[in-house]
Amino acid sequence: MALLKSNKVLYCLGNVSPSLGVLSSRNSSWWGGVQMGPPDPILGVTEAFKRDTNPKKMNLGVGAYRDDQGKPYVLNCVRKAEAVIAEKKLDKEYLPIGGLGEFAKACAQLALGADNEVLKSGRNITVQTISGTGSLRIGANFLSRFHGGPRDVYLPKPSWGNHTPIFRDAGMQLKAYRYYDPSTCGFDFKGALEDISKIPEQSVIVLHACAHNPTGVDPRPEQWKEISDLVKKRNLLVFFDMAYQGFASGDIDRDAWAVRHFIEQGHNIVLSQSFAKNMGLYGERVGGFTVVCKDAEEAKRVESQLKILIRPIYSNPPMNGARIATTILNTPELRAMWLEEVHGMANRIIKMREQLVAGLKKEGSSHNWQHVIDQIGMFCFTGLKPEQVERLTKEFSVYMTKDGRISMAGVSSGNVGYLAHGIHAVTK
């Protein structure tokens, strides 16, 4: 047989393949060169929290909502929807690649408003995705493959930590525009406009639709208007990330205002939506990706290409969460219940912000904590420096990310006083 003629046959010795540069032998591994990956900064916080035995410990890391007892909250409308679905005794057949059709429709309506011209003319394509991350990744892959403009994606500084590796893995390059002003713990509007005015035409700009992650700092409507005008002038492709619709102000239409304004102004945006937070469907992975196209014909072409992208990643999306979300959105009583519950979650957060500031005042803090109330959504950029964060964790077992971000959802009426005490201690 041919193999015996080869003098490269080595049984028990190592064999280095010159062109491919790998050392392998029976006793060594293929994976000797695999580096240990760094722990995920956000999820790593939860892991450290779990190991801590201090009864007063607080987990202000990952952004999952907690009720006032610090427990995960399964929405009533979700439980009801699940009961309705169980009754139907549905089969488990594959969904189409783009997911549950009714879900995609309801998802787009929620973001754009049911009477939006885009929906009426059918010039959007909306597909069900694996929550917000899956949506962003599909979008990034799509842009990487089809966007004729520069490879650069402009993120606000700072942005959600996972944005960068998502776009990078999709083959895009990352740049930033000023966003957060550490001196005011607020929006650096002037800096943002200056930076955006310099972005090369046709570049991609990522905007957080509401409840900016991680800062909680959102532009005001008049500021959004100016941003829209400038972005239009610069001819940029807008990628909206909307992970908190309803969760920010408590009002789904108010939270979608920026997205709708941009569309109205003629931007053909791409949009990622997540139902992890606003429906508490975190682990069910419910999301949507929308491309607003020139017309229905273009939407069909774009849809066909999205399917080609999706199929070799996961073939088709999971049913369970999408079914729940659709049932809620399309059943009037459940939808009304949902709107109330989302309002309730947002309100509890707002209350905690107020109580934290009141607590800090009570502790005698001389700092200005107004930003804690001005910021919106699940996260608060406290303004704490890394050394202060480290002390807060070491001395008080309060866990948060190094950038000073806290998840307000982890704050309750039972521990807000302790938190105020700890923050005051490390900042006085």
Partner: protein, 416 residues
């Protein structure tokens, strides 16, 4: 509304061709012919042509609904721990030495596709150097049509076929396969179907697997198993995992992409697991840490529902036994349809040999019908099958098997 820019950014986006297997089902749905039969997409059907939610799945779903302690929180990035370990155990066996040695890990993924993709992304980044997109990836000729795209989109530039199906003898082209293994550049990746080869239904025998393993070991070729039909093929989990377990016992470090779509009937819940068998625990730890990074930018963490169902079932002896029974029910019906189709074709005197129908295993059969005959089947007889001649045995029932046999007979005798 003021148009933002005169030309759309997407005006150059071409219309992509539809994915063939889904287009087939779409065409089938639109067909109003009373005797139409769908032998296309690979999902199990009962003898009434209905989808089948496994009784054990219904039972476990009820348990989950009734468990008020369960919520919808995020799973860890790598998935539900009890699902991952149970899934790997199903593939490698209760008494797996590799599992006992703590060198086996699982990555919960979105179906078999998701497991393949995460594995492919990992290999592209870390196998055979760092980011070596030139490593050849071999897939069988033919293979599941999505294999190519999975590896290509993961970044591999050189995807090649290895000889597999011998159309003339309607069986495995073993010598062609072995020859390709001998000639492949060292360290090439080979995607092997663990059992119930898709689309041909033709699997190597145990002796043939041994020959394949010998060459792969000697030539340092990488083993990536695609296991989408464990239990579904023969009705026995152990039998269907024989090849995987043999390779592991031979000392290979390998990946196994597992799907629970078919054997649990959980198609739309996207339940899969990428089993990693490493040299030792230290390697495994590093590998899993890198898998996490890949998962985080793809879907962050996997969906909960399906993994809960499978995890609960596999970890409870009673439910596990019930599941195996349900799986056998499906496998047995397929075997019955194979027997009957062959018998009917032989009774009709349809030209050619039809032994391959019962020799092949699993959901699919490569009938050997050529594209013209397939077109005849679809257009004239309203029997839908893939252009390759692949039929889904699950689409056959006692009620339509005569019509299908008759249609095949006509196709073979009337169309060359």
């Amino acid at each position: 509304m003021i148009p933002c820019i005169a030309m759309s950014i997407f005006s150059e986006v071409p219309q992509a061709p539809p994915v063939a297997v889904f287009k087939l089902t779409a065409d089938f749905r639109e067909d109003s012919h009373p005797q139409k039969v769908n032998l296309g997409v690979g999902a199990y059907r009962t003898d009434d042509s209905q989808p089948w939610v496994l009784p054990v799945v219904k039972k476990v779903e009820r348990l989950i609904v009734e468990d008020s302690s369960l919520n919808h929180e995020y799973l860890p990035i790598l998935g539900l721990p009890e699902f991952r370990s149970a899934a790997s155990k199903v593939a490698l066996g209760e008494d797996s030495a590799a599992i006992k040695d703590n060198r086996v890990g699982g990555v919960q993924a979105l179906g078999g596709t998701g497991a393949l993709r995460i594995g492919a992304e990992f290999l592209r980044r870390w196998y055979n150097g760092v980011n070596n997109t030139a490593t050849p990836v071999y897939v069988s000729a033919p293979t599941w049509e999505n294999h190519n795209a999975v590896f290509a989109d993961a970044g591999f530039k050189d995807i090649r076929p290895y000889h597999y199906w011998d159309a003339a003898k309607r069986g495995l082209d073993l010598s062609g396969f072995l020859d390709d293994l001998e000639k492949a550049p060292e360290h090439s990746i080979f995607v092997l179907h663990a059992c119930a080869h898709n689309p041909t239904g033709t699997d190597p025998s145990q002796d043939e697997w041994k020959k394949i393993a010998e060459i792969m070991k000697r030539r340092n070729l990488f083993v990536f198993f695609d296991s989408a039909y464990q239990g579904f093929a023969s009705g026995s989990l152990e039998k269907d995992a024989w090849a995987i377990r043999f390779f592991v016992s031979e000392g290979f470090e390998l990946l196994v992409a597992q799907s629970f779509s078919k054997n649990f009937g959980l198609y739309n819940e996207r339940v899969g697991n990428l089993t990693v068998v490493a040299r030792d625990n230290e390697n495994l730890t590093r590998i899993l840490s890198q898998m996490e990074k890949i998962v985080r930018t793809t879907w962050s963490n996997p969906p909960s529902q399906g993994a809960r169902i499978v995890g609960k079932t596999l970890n409870c002896p009673e439910l596990f036994a019930e599941w195996k029974d349900n799986v056998k029910t499906m496998a047995d019906r397929v075997l019955l349809m194979r027997d009957q189709l062959k018998a009917k074709l032989q009774a009709l005197g349809t030209p050619g040999t039809w032994d391959h129908i019962t020799q092949q295993i699993g959901m699919f059969s490569f009938t050997g019908l050529n594209p013209k005959q397939v077109e005849f089947m679809i257009k004239e007889k309203h029997v839908y099958l893939m252009a390759s001649g692949r039929i889904n045995m699950c689409g056959l029932t006692t009620k339509n098997i005569d019509y299908v046999a008759q249609s095949i007979h006509e196709a073979v005798t009337k169309v060359q």
